[in-house]
Amino acid sequence: MRGYCGCLIMQAEQIESLAQIAGVWRSRDLPLPEQGLPSGNEKLDAQLPGGGWPIGALTELLLETEGVGELDLLLPAFARCTREGAWTAFVAPPYQPFAPALQRAGVNLSHLLLVNVQDAKDRLWAAEQLLRSGSFAAVAVWPDQIDERALRRLQLAAERGESCGFVWRPASAARSASPAALRLRISTERGQMKLAVLKLRGARLDRSAAHFSAVAAV
């Protein structure tokens, strides 16, 4: 049945009725192949099913302390997107991004949008609009506060727009439930950044490999 479906030109109604028959699949029902946006960090990519940051999903970054190279972790992916002409955004970053450092990391600044917004609700609103638009490849948001419901909205928006969403939260949020596809804790050990995969949707975590030092690639 599936063999010759593709050769026929059918009306939409016919296709609908065909879809009722067991064993007939439409291409849109097929699961998409897992794909990832390479993070530029080999150890991390090896941990992630698509070989990179999950596309069409939300990644939570749980930060213990600032200034440990946490944004550096995202920049190879942002650099790759912007150089390929895709748009990226920072929503409500805690400080002003410093252009020379971004450019040194390879980011094409003409495709990085900064949304400077104070209000907690507006931050989430802006991130949701960007994620769901389908024209932003990667969006990082620093929410003032965010609950599970808001995270779910962002997750759905990222799915719809096939975008990579990154949400920065304090490490203390690790205890609360989250619908994000990937949760990563960023900490330091003897002055070096350590990453811990707390949750990875659709994968069984190898506990021993889930904790690793990422500093080599940074």
């Binding site: 200034g67 440990v68 190279g69 450019q103 040194r104 990085l112 949008l113 900064l114």
Partner: protein, 488 residues
């Protein structure tokens, strides 16, 4: 009458193939509909003219008709039938203006549109039918468009402008696409439907005529002798024997619409419906010209107070009702009303050709709808303000606070080559406490030509939990260490 011989109109049937097809659109309650447009359910309304000191009902909308009010009666008796009746005085100027606005919309369906005061538009459709497939589909689309805007409309289609007008005034939605059909309709149509004065119609009746078809079978010379040149010309033009050239409507490049609200509005959500109607009109106007708006001004009129202006700029020309409404909604949501609103104006005098590549072409199957980045910037700005949506750019300056600049998005940036820099820069350097300096100093000085006097030694430093900072000592105050950036 049955013994009357069948009328044969050889010059109409076998005339050279004419391609014209006219649609007449009549807006019988133009002024009333306009007043009621801000309302989802309009009240009974009548249009009144002053006549010898009394007000006579000239027209009424459907709710008024439902209550038994009919044109021609005195206003007093109309009030007796419908106490909550709203009386609107006839204003020729406003009526003219409205008709012009509607002509702009009609222009989207035909490049040959003419205005017939006070309430009629004529559109030549033969070219447009092919574009829309069938006449029926085209008609439905046109009628839908005007009805969605809140206007009552009756129509007629005929091979001549006067014919279409005559059918529209009958109000039964008559369509004659060929001369044969048209003549068939006229054969048994009473003389009273002719757009001639009562004296001329009287004259016909006295001569024993009862139907329009009978007059059309007469030779023009005889008609002219018996009823005058004016009548003869009218009948020749009605049947298409004589050409009937009309001035073409030329659309202006400025969109300005006003809408009076029936009651004071105190909160922005209540404005949404009325604003939507104006935006729908704008979207139709823009669409018919392949244009997009670059700037919009929404004016909110207040009673005895200066009106408020809301300006919306677009990065790229914007069109399409949904997009416009989304932007305006977001902006209105943030607007605090300084006073109750009694009327709206929507103005757009800055337009540019719409980029046709936007829209469906870019859409991928998996993604429901792709919005252009520019459309998104507009949306974000409309809610968060213009300054919230920015990009960042390198400036060729030594002094760190001058080396990075916030600009409008997608401006591009000059290249930068130099040593490692922190990703976050603090807006103001702050005093550093408990940091350990690593490595060598990097001296940064402003040039002698620069107005700012900056001479600093920069270091990388870390705190106990592993955070790395960019710190400096000013050479003027070497014992104080300042944090200037964070190696995020």
């Amino acid at each position: 009458m049955t013994d009357r011989p069948r009328i044969f109109l050889p010059w109409l049937r076998f005339e050279q193939a004419r391609l014209m097809l006219w649609l007449a659109l009549r807006f019988p309650t133009l002024l009333l509909d306009d007043k009621a447009r801000g309302l989802e359910a309009p009240p009974p309304m009548v249009l009144v003219v002053r006549e010898t000191g009394r007000s006579r009902v000239e027209g009424c909308n459907q709710p008024a008709r439902d209550m038994g009010v009919c044109p021609g009666s005195w206003l007093n008796s109309a009030f007796a039938l419908a106490p909550e009746l709203v009386a609107v005085p006839f204003e020729a100027h406003r009526s003219e203006q409205l008709l012009t606005n509607l002509a702009e919309l009609a222009y989207g369906y035909s490049s040959l549109v003419t205005l017939e005061s006070p309430d009629l538009l004529l559109l030549e459709l033969s070219g447009s039918v092919r574009l829309f497939g069938t006449l029926k589909r085209l008609l439905n689309k046109i009628l839908d468009e005007f009805r969605t805007l809140g206007f009552e409309v009756s129509y007629g289609v005929a091979p001549t402008p006067l014919g279409a007008r005559l059918l529209a005034e009958r109000g039964a939605g008559l369509v004659a696409t060929s001369d044969g059909d048209f003549n068939q309709l006229l054969t048994r149509m009473p003389l009273q439907h002719l757009a001639l004065d009562a004296a001329a119609v009287n004259g016909f009746e006295k001569s024993g005529f009862r139907y329009i078809g009978e007059l059309l079978s007469l030779p023009r010379g005889a008609l002219q002798r018996r009823f005058g040149a004016e009548v003869a010309r009218y009948l020749s033009r009605l049947s298409g024997r004589e050409a009937d050239p009309r001035p073409r409507f030329e659309p202006p490049q400025l969109f300005r619409r006003t809408l009076d609200l029936p009651a004071e509005v105190h909160a922005t959500p209540a404005l949404r419906f009325a604003v939507g109607r104006l935006l729908r009109e704008l979207a139709g106007y823009l669409d018919s010209r392949g244009l997009g708006a670059r700037k919009l001004v929404l004016g909110l009129q207040h009673y005895r107070k200066p009106s408020s202006r809301i300006e919306l700029g677009f990065v790229a020309p914007a069109g399409g009702f949904d997009h416009l409404q989304r932007i305006v909604d977001e902006r209105l949501g943030r607007q605090q009303l300084s006073a109750p609103v009694v009327g709206l104006t929507l103005e757009c005098d800055s337009m540019a050709p719409l980029d046709q590549r936007q829209g469906e072409l870019l859409s991928r199957p998996g993604v429901a709808q792709r919005e252009s980045p520019e459309a998104l910037f507009d949306l974000l700005r409309s809610r968060l303000g213009h300054r919230a949506v920015r990009g960042v750019q390198v400036r060729p300056q030594h002094v760190p606070e001058m080396a990075s600049r916030v600009i409008s998005p997608s401006s591009g940036s000059p290249a930068w080559q130099g040593p490692r820099r922190p990703l976050w820069l603090l807006p103001e350097p702050r005093l550093a406490v408990g940091l350990t300096i690593e490595g060598e100093a990097e001296r940064i000085e402003s040039g002698w030509w620069s107005p700012s006097d900056v001479r600093r030694d920069y270091y990388i430093a870390h705190n106990r939990s592993g955070g790395r900072y960019w710190v400096f000592r000013a050479r003027s105050a070497p014992d104080q260490l300042f944090i200037h950036g964070i190696f995020a």
